[in-house]
Amino acid sequence: MREVQASEITKAVRDLFIDANCNLGEDVLAAFDRAIEKDESPVAKEVIRELKENARIAQDEQSPICQDTGLAVLFVEVGQDVHVAGGDLKAALNEGVRKGYGEGYLRKSACHPFTRANTKDNTPAVIHFDIVPGDRVRIIAVPKGGGAENMSRVDMLSPSAGLEGIKDVVVKRIEASGSNPCPPTVVGVGIGGTFERSALLAKKALTRKIGERNADPELARVEEEVLSRINKLGIGPMGYGGNTTSLDVFFEVEPCHIASLPVAVNVQCHATRHKETVI
C-alpha cells in the first residue's frame, strides 16, 4: 500500500486546470498549421491565424485561451494499492478546482440549474473515478466549455441502423451544430454500453491527442472517413465557410445490449484542453 497525501492531489489538480486553460496543446497548434496550409478559404486561414496568435498571447501572459474556462471535468484513475492520507479524496479534488480557478484567474462558470446562482468557485467538479491496478493516481483535467457541450447529444439508435447509421448521426450532428460550437471542433463519439456509458466514452475520447487514431484499424478508417465527410460540409472555422470544420474525430466502442445501439457525440471547440499527471 502506497500512501498519497490529499494535499498533493489538491496541488496537482490546481496546477492542471491552470495549465490546461492557458497552454494549448502542441497537437492542436500543429493541426492549426496544417489547416492554414490546406484550407481553400482565405477567411478560414485568417481565422485560424487569429487562433494561433490567441494561443501565443495566452501562453505568454499565462491567461486563459478562452474566457469560458469550463466546468471542471476530472478523470481520476486510482491504483488499488493507493491509500489517500490526510483527507477525503473527493474533497481534495474539489479543493484543487477551487484553488486553480481562484488563483489562476479562471472564470467560475458553475451555477444552480434553476436559480442560475453561481457557486462562485467553479465547484463541484464533474469527477469520473476508475479503480485500476497499481499504486499510482492518474489525473486528467478537462475544462469543458459550455458552447460546444450544448451541441452534444446521445442517440439510442435501432441496431438495424448499423455502422452507416452511426456515421450519419455524427455528420448530421456536426452539420446541425453549425457555427455554434466554435469550429474547428474535435468530435468525441462514444458507441455502446448503456445510455450514460456512451456519453462517458465520448467525453473520454476527447482526451486523445489530435491525430491519435483508434488502435483498431477498422475504427481508425471510420474515424478518417467521418472526419473527411464533416470537412466537406463547408461550415469552416467559426462557420464563415471553409474546409476545416473539425480537426479530428475519435471513436470509442464498447459492447451494448442486444436491443440497443447507443451513440453519443460530444462536441469540443478548437480550445481542446486537457492535461494530465501521474502521482
Partner: protein, 184 residues
Amino acid sequence: MSEIKLKTPLTDKDTEELKIGDKVLLTGIIYSARDAAHKRLFDLIQAGKDLPIDIRGQVIYYVGPAPAKPGKPIGSAGPTTSYRMDAYAPKLMELGLKGMIGKGNRAADVVEAMKKFKAVYFGATGGAGALLARSIKKAETVAYEDLGPEAIQRMEVEDFPVVVINDSKGNDLYVEGAKKYRKA
C-alpha cells in the same frame, strides 16, 4: 479584406451600410450581457420598468469575461453562443439596440427584427478570448454584480475586431459561407 472603422453608438445610417462579411473595427462603449442579465432586462421591460442602461444605439456584447489579473482591465473576453439570447433580442432591438456581438446562428425572428429595426449581428472569433481582451481598454460593472461573470459591464473598446454575420437586409454570412465551400 478592407476594414471599416465604426464608432459606437451606432446610427441607422451606420447599420444600413454594413453587409455580411464586412470586417469592422468598433471603437467606443459597448455593454456586456449574457444569459442571466438578459433575463433580468427582459423581466424589467415586461414589468414596464426602466433598464439600468439606455440601450438606444448601443451594442451588446454576449460575453462573460474571465477575471482580470492585477494591472489588467479585464481577463480573456471572447463571445459566447448567441442563440440563447434569441428570446430577448427582438424586444431589445425594438427599444433601440443597434448591434449584437456574439457567435453562432440566430433564430429567424431575430433576423427579421434586425431588418425591421435596422440592427446588425456581428461575430467575434470564438475562443480567441486572450486576443480580443487586448481591444478592451477599460471595463466597469454597471449592473447585476451578484451575477459574477454574467454582470453587465460597460466596456471601452478600441478597434474591437468583428465580422458582420447578419446585416439589416436579412442576409446571413453562415449560409453564404457554407454554400461556397460545401462539397457534399
